[in-house]
Amino acid sequence: MAASDTRDEVALARDLIAGEPGAFDRFVEVFRSKIFHYAQTVCGRREDAEEVAQDTLLKVFSNFGQLREPERVRAWVFRIARNECLMRRRKSVFAPTQELSLDDFLPHQDQDDGRRLEIADWSALPDDQALRAEMRDAVHAAIEKLPEIYRTVMLLRDIEELSTEETAEVLDISVEAVKTRLHRARLAVRQKLEEYMRGAKAGGRR
């Protein structure tokens, strides 16, 4: 998220508190999608995510008076969404968290016998404006394969662009844990994309 988006959201929170006309609908439009996306990342199912989005917004509006600093509106909303997700997860059976090890993602650029493995050509990726649907699907698939604790950090940091400190506050973990999880998440996604590019090259799809 660009800095201007953050400013817009803070302005929106102020307008909402002041009861400005139109602020309610704009707030719902902006934040409902964000909460839904976060909840889908955590809970998995669309139906659960829509329920979380609704219940989170209800709590947000009911408790808006507790938001002392409109500058913190994003972290505050995500924090409520996280609690809603946790309540649902407690009611269901879920798999234990899988840990990712840094060593799994070490670049194997040099083999012990000194031969260098071929590295996928990242410079040949399509430009942002021309991202092919296939590449988009590969990115989505790579993110979806991440264990939940990594996927959530990546969503908040790299997609919603919360700061490291805000992410730590939302998830109730240390700043160091955010950094560690984010790095491993990025490495895992990078590795999946590299595999995709090798496959695409071998298959002549580029």
């Binding site: 996306h37 008076g65 991202l131 989505h140 996604v189 990078r190």
Partner: protein
């Protein structure tokens, strides 16, 4: 870390810090050490660039699905909660 050529041990140290380096969360001294290593290590530069590209791709593609539109009932509940907040705020 430190300046110089491709060295597996130093590459490993740099590798562990690349996200923090990209996010500008390291001290100037550690940044300088990483940059000194990168200057002499094309594989690490290549890896850093691919990681940077990964972050950009996630940012550009990560939006995901949209929720279905609010039903009238859902919207009414939210409007009621908001009105109650405004009433309490003004009262």
């Amino acid at each position: 870390m430190g300046a110089g050529k491709h060295d597996k041990g130093k590459c490993h140290d740099v590798f562990a810090l690349l996200s923090e380096y990209l996010d500008r969360e390291l001290t100037p001294q550690t940044c300088a050490e990483i940059e000194a290593h990168l200057a002499g290590c094309p594989p690490c530069i290549e890896f850093l660039n691919s990681l940077k590209r990964t972050v950009r791709l996630c940012r550009d593609c990560g939006g995901g699905e949209k929720p279905r539109p609010l039903t009238a009932e859902q919207r009414d509940k939210l409007v009621s909660a908001y009105r109650a907040f405004l009433a309490g705020n003004r009262g």
